[in-house]
Each structure stands twice: as structure tokens, then as C-alpha cells.
């Protein structure tokens, strides 16, 4: 049976808290178990240093040195027929080893195989751009820069792509809080109204479990509506359902719930 966890404050608390959690790995196979991958790995090993290689979930993972990344991907693209770069980004391992892991997910339509080229760079190091080989790397590298702050050498237009240009901080870093730092919390207020408006507008309400039944400022209380700002006693009379005001409107008949007909027979 599953262990019981109290669910009273399940909405108030974050569902998942350990941001440095590392999920368990699927079993790895040796590269020699697949002859296509074994031949590919030999071709890479002939020219470049391979730190580690294995097969996981029917895909070969190859670790190389970060300085070789453009040359390895050029070799893999032009000689080994992996003609598509389907995805690339980075993984933040700074808390563990002070490094970023950068991965390139490649697809060969001819061989019907996928391989993943991986390399590590230090926290303040830059990586060389593969944009000249794959145009798809253009936006991916911009996203990597935007989310992790990893700078990319020889990129034609290295600028933030998802976040605003004047944003501070890199949101996909493990150390970045999900609900944003102080800059993020006040970003739109500072930008539109200026810092002096912070006191008037007030901080963001981040508690998703917060329910204020007597809040007449933000939500009309359906069926018990009161004008904005009214002091709520809790004994407000119920307002009947009405689509128009009493007395009707000039030239328009008022909707009357009593006189209306509810059609239940669809085929009448």
C-alpha cells in the first residue's frame, strides 16, 4: 500500500520540492551490442577522443571533449549520415560538479537511428556554435543562452529568445526559484509604472490555496454581489438571477425567468 501523506495543505505546498533530485537511470548496454552503433563509434574514435559511450533506450550516447564538438558533429553529419539535429540544450550540474552538460540529439533518417553527443563545460566557459552545420541550432543555442546563460562562440545573433531582452537571471538554472527572484516579481511593475509604484500595487499573491470569501475588491461573489469596496458582513441577501436591470431597458424586453420556457424535447 502507498504510504499515507496528509493532504490538508496539498495546494499550499509545492508538489515537488527537491530541485536537485536526480532520477534513477535506465539500464545501459554496451555499444558492441548494436553493430550500426559500433561502426559509428569506431569512426568517431578514429579521429577524436571519446570519454564514454553506451547504449540507452536504443540510442547511443557518446561523451566527447567540449573543444571537439563542432568537428565531431560535422563528422557525424557528413560521414555517418546523421543529417538532423533534432534537439540541443544543456543540463545544469553546477551543484554537483560545477559544470554544464551540453547535449546534441541527432537523427539519421537513412539508418533509422538516433545518437546523442554530449560534452561538459565549466560554469564560466563558452561553447562553439554548430549553427553553420545545422540552422536549427540557431534558436536552440539562443534558448540555451537565455535559460542557462551559456555563451556560444561564433553565433550570428546571440540574444535572448524567450525572456524579454532586459531580463536578469537565467530561469532554467537549478538555483533559480520557480516563482522568480525579486527582479522577476517586480518586472512588469518596474517597467510600466516605475519602482515607486511597488507600494501601491503591492506584492504578487502567490498562495494558490488562498481563498478569501469576503474579498469584494477582486472577485464579484456570484449570487451575493456587492459594490466594490463594500464592507462585507457575511449576511448579504441573495441576488436573484437577472440579465437586465429592474424596469427594463428602452426598446428591449426584460428577461423573465418565470415566463421563459425550458425546452426539454429535442425533437419537438
Amino acid at each position: 500500500m502507498r504510504a499515507y501523506t496528509p493532504k490538508d495543505d496539498v495546494q499550499a505546498k509545492a508538489y515537488y520540492t527537491d530541485r536537485f533530485y536526480v532520477s534513477p537511470q535506465v539500464a545501459k548496454q554496451d555499444v558492441s551490442s548494436d553493430e550500426v552503433f559500433a561502426a559509428d563509434l569506431e569512426a568517431i574514435k578514429a579521429k577524436f577522443e571519446v570519454l564514454e559511450a553506451y547504449i540507452q533506450v536504443e540510442q547511443m550516447v557518446v561523451y566527447i571533449n567540449a573543444k571537439d564538438n563542432v568537428d565531431v558533429i560535422k563528422l557525424v553529419k557528413e560521414e555517418l549520415d546523421y543529417t538532423q539535429l533534432s534537439e540541443m540544450s544543456a543540463i545544469d550540474w553546477i551543484a554537483k560538479s560545477g559544470q554544464f552538460e551540453i547535449f546534441y540529439q541527432m537523427l539519421s533518417m537513412g539508418k533509422r537511428k538516433r545518437i546523442r553527443i554530449k560534452c561538459f563545460i565549466g560554469k564560466d566557459e563558452a561553447i562553439n556554435s554548430v549553427e553553420k552545420l545545422f540552422r536549427s541550432a540557431d534558436w536552440s543555442e539562443r534558448e540555451m543562452y537565455d535559460m542557462f546563460g551559456i555563451e556560444v562562440n561564433n553565433h550570428p545573433f546571440l540574444k535572448r529568445i524567450l525572456m524579454p531582452y532586459d531580463w536578469e537571471g537565467y530561469p532554467l538554472l537549478k538555483t533559480y526559484p520557480l516563482e522568480g527572484d525579486e527582479f522577476a516579481a517586480w518586472y512588469e511593475v518596474d517597467k510600466i509604472y516605475g519602482k515607486e509604484a511597488r507600494d501601491i500595487i503591492g506584492p504578487e499573491i502567490r498562495d494558490t490555496a488562498r481563498v478569501d470569501r469576503y474579498d469584494s475588491e477582486r472577485f464579484g461573489r456570484l449570487g451575493h454581489e456587492v459594490p466594490k469596496g463594500t464592507k462585507i458582513t457575511g449576511n448579504e441577501p441573495k441576488t436573484p438571477l437577472a440579465y437586465q436591470e429592474e424596469g427594463g431597458v428602452f426598446m428591449i424586453d426584460r428577461f423573465d425567468e418565470e415566463k421563459s420556457v425550458i425546452i426539454t424535447d429535442r425533437n419537438r
Binding site: P164, G180, E188, I192, A197, R218, E245, F250
Partner: protein, 169 residues
């Protein structure tokens, strides 16, 4: 030539209806609420459905306009990101007064499920909101009811006085 049938036995024998200027102006305003096309996320789909033939917003005189200068009401339908916040303020400022804002759906009301760094936690942090519609996403019926409530609000206003400028601060 058209023949106008006037019943002289009704309305004290006069083909005239008496009313106040307020009522006439509010009648015009409340029955031609032109909405700014502002679909930001999935609520925009429901907003489009409200405008299409099944729910037929044209019956209320609500016609979607692509320009803020022709719109009376801004229906903020969807998640407002922090990157987009300055543009919603700019578009709101371009609307001519009197102007109203409907905040449609959880995301526009409070940020909804996006309790993250990139989402504005309620569009009322940026612009003053007249009406909040709950739901994720609200059904077209909810939006229609919301527009009818807004009509009610408009009819209760003093039309000949200039509208008190709504400001967030």
C-alpha cells in the same frame, strides 16, 4: 413611398417616446460593445467560439475589432506573460474612453495554474478590470453572461457626465 402606420390612440396620441439622454446614450453604448481581439491563450478559443455562429455575439452588438482605437472593451482572454505586460498597457492606453476591461479565465484573473516567474499574477496588476470571469477556460455562455453584466454596468452609469477615468493607481 413608405406608408408609416402611426397609432394615434397610443402614447397620448403622439408618435413619440419620451426618455432621458442618459438612457439613450447608454442604450447605444451598451448595445454596441465592440471588443478588442485579445486572445492570448486557450481562452481565446472560447472567445472566438462566442463570436462564431453558434453563440453569435453579433446579437449583442459585440463585434470584434482588431484595433484598440475602435474598441470599447478589452477581453483579456488568456495567460498574460511578463514579457507581454507592457504591450497590454500600451493597447489599453490606446483605447478611447469610455472603455472597459473583462478579465477572462483563471490566468487573467490571478495567474491561474502558472505560478511561475514568467506570468503576471493577475491582469489587474497592470490595468483596471471591470469584470472577472471564473473558469479554465470559461464556456462561451460565461462570456455572454459577462457581457450582459457589463451591459448592466454600463446602463447604470451616468452617460452625459464624462466617465471617471479609471486608474490602477
Amino acid at each position: 413611398m413608405a406608408q408609416h402606420k402611426v397609432n394615434y390612440t397610443q402614447n397620448a396620441g403622439l408618435p413619440v417616446a419620451l426618455t432621458t439622454i442618459d438612457k439613450v446614450v447608454n442604450w447605444g453604448r451598451s448595445n454596441s460593445i465592440w471588443a478588442l481581439t485579445y486572445g492570448l491563450a486557450c481562452c481565446g478559443i472560447e472567445m472566438m467560439a462566442s463570436g462564431a455562429s453558434r453563440y453569435d455575439f453579433d446579437r449583442y452588438g459585440t463585434i470584434f475589432r482588431a484595433s484598440p482605437r475602435q474598441a470599447d472593451v478589452m477581453i483579456v482572454a488568456g495567460t498574460l506573460t511578463k514579457k507581454h505586460a507592457e504591450f497590454i498597457k500600451r493597447l489599453y492606453d490606446q483605447m478611447t474612453e469610455p472603455r472597459w476591461v473583462i478579465s477572462m479565465g483563471s490566468c487573467a484573473n490571478t495567474g491561474g495554474m502558472f505560478n511561475t516567474y514568467a506570468t503576471v499574477q493577475g491582469v489587474d496588476r497592470i490595468i483596471p478590470v471591470d469584470l472577472y470571469l471564473p473558469g479554465c477556460a470559461p464556456r462561451p455562455e460565461t462570456l455572454q453572461y459577462g457581457v450582459m453584466l457589463l451591459q448592466k454596468k454600463i446602463r447604470a452609469e451616468k452617460a452625459i457626465k464624462s466617465q471617471k477615468t479609471k486608474r490602477l493607481m
